[in-house]
């Protein structure tokens, strides 16, 4: 059920994310070796690839959790980082970077919930502190999000009292509470059981219908196949192959992709 109308519309307006030639090294290890990607409004793109191929790093470079060594990143037409050929791309002021990055929400592999806050407090913290919303204003919305992820009855628990799956669902609700235009997911379902993966996927599909742009690193081939419009296969810091979701799985072109998909159970 991928929709191509959205990606077609993207051509006329500035792309939600436009990354060109991103290079990132950790010491001697070149983790990203010139990665480029354009995301249109409402597009859902899945990133797959073997462990250590740089998927997480790529995501972290898009929202300034890592600074890039070379390349350009534009978010909704605004420049986050420009290549200056000096070994380090140039970023704007801290406030500028924060403003541009605030258009993206992110869900981590390791949750990163705030352990000193209850589930509800985790969700309402940023809307209140960052957006200056009133408690009364955000509360109904937070509860609706908790209901969506099936954790309303855990609203007053602390994260340490939750199972892994529960933690990840809170993390997703927390990111959505900021109403970002773009959502970055780093293996959001890896700690969820199939039942709840289904719930989260429904939520994500709903977001896509509301023109939410999503970039999802995932090991869940089912998700990539069913929900993503486009699939990107990364290996050793480069994009090896990409294509529209069903075609990609039916007829992978590159031998590396073939080998990877062939090993799936």
């Amino acid at each position: 059920m991928p929709s191509t109308t959205n990606s077609a519309a993207a051509a006329t307006r500035p792309a939600m994310i436009e990354a060109r030639g991103i290079v990132k090294s950790f010491g001697a290890l070149r983790v990203l070796d010139g990665v480029s990607l354009t995301l249109g409004k409402g597009e859902v793109v899945a990133v797959i690839g073997p462990s250590g191929s740089g998927k997480s790093t790529f995501l972290r470079c898009l929202n300034h959790l890592e600074t890039i060594d070379a390349g350009t990143v534009l978010i909704e037409g605004e420049t986050l980082a420009t290549d200056e050929g000096s070994g380090h791309s140039r970023y704007g002021s801290d406030a500028e970077v924060r403003r541009i990055c605030s258009k993206m929400g992110m869900v981590f592999q390791s949750f990163n919930l705030f352990p000193h806050m209850t589930v509800l407090q985790n969700i309402i913290e940023a809307p209140i502190t960052v957006k200056g919303m009133a408690r009364d204003e955000i509360l109904p919305k937070a509860e609706e999000l908790l209901r969506k992820v099936g954790l309303l009855e855990k609203r007053d628990n602390y994260p340490s009292r939750l199972s892994g799956g529960q933690k990840q669902r809170v993390a997703i609700a927390r990111a959505l509470a900021m109403e970002p235009d773009i959502m970055l997911f780093d293996e959001p379902t890896s700690a969820l059981d199939p039942e709840l993966t289904g719930e989260v996927l429904r939520t994500m599909r709903q977001l896509a219908d509301e023109h939410m742009t999503m970039l999802v690193v995932t090991h869940e081939m089912g998700f990539a196949r069913e929900v993503a419009h486009r699939v990107i296969f990364m290996d050793q810091g480069s994009i090896v192959e990409e294509g529209p979701a069903p075609a990609f799985f039916l007829a992978p072109a590159h031998p590396r992709t073939k080998a990877f998909l062939g090993q799936m159970l």
Binding site: P115, T129, V130, A175
Partner: protein, 217 residues
């Protein structure tokens, strides 16, 4: 026993001096220590090194000498030289000295926060200051409570150093009576005063620890 009771009055006067110095020092040294700790972990090298030097100087010399310096030598220093009366001189010396110790404790607390917490706050759009206030400080406080309680309790007893400026804290009052009456009872009564003050502090810190334990595993 009756004698011991007769000592409570004069010693309570000494305790008042002790406690006044204690609370004023705490009120000044804690915020100053936090600012120093932040400067110490900042990426701005010059600032970090300057604070490192300050901490070394303050922890590196006896508080008694610092107090004597501020009292006697500061008036002769150009530009910043002021002639402070005895109690204010003690307050300045104590605050500057303890801020250095608190700074090191706060630094440890700041460094103990998981990197994921900073990343989680950052992607939610929080500024470094908001992250500090809402995420780092609340998580840091329970972790630094034990060393903080150590340092605070040390402060209660360090206040007795103001005897060098001829101020009558509890221990000095006790020593005076010991010499006058040729008996060590005043020391025992003074010890009880200290135990009481420490008991209140320890109790307070343990309540804080319990309070913060609620979200911990």
């Amino acid at each position: 026993m009756e004698y011991a009771l007769s000592l409570v009055g004069p010693l309570a006067q000494g305790a008042q001096v002790t406690l006044t110095l204690f609370f004023i020092t705490l009120g000044l040294a804690v915020p100053l220590g936090l600012v120093l700790a932040l400067a110490r972990v900042s990426r701005w090298r010059a600032l970090s090194n300057a604070v490192n030097g300050y901490i070394w100087l303050m922890r590196g010399t006896p508080l008694m000498l610092q107090m004597l310096f501020i009292y006697f030598a500061l008036p002769f220093v150009p530009v910043i030289g002021v002639r402070l009366p005895d109690f204010p001189a003690a307050v300045v010396a104590f605050a500057l000295n303890y801020a250095a110790y608190f700074a090191e404790i706060f630094r440890a607390g700041i460094l103990s926060i998981d990197r994921g917490q900073y990343e989680g706050s950052k992607v939610l759009g929080m500024t470094p200051l908001q992250t500090l206030r809402r995420i780092v400080l609340p998580q840091m406080v329970p972790r630094i409570l034990p060393p903080l309680s150590n340092e605070t309790i040390t402060l209660v007893k360090d206040t007795s150093l103001i005897y060098v400026l001829a101020l009558n804290d509890i221990l000095r009052v006790a020593r005076g009576i010991v010499q006058r009456d040729f008996t060590t009872t005043p020391f025992l009564v003074a010890a009880l005063f200290y135990l009481l003050m420490t008991l209140v502090l320890t109790w307070g810190f343990q309540r804080l620890e319990k309070h913060y334990a609620k979200y911990d595993q």
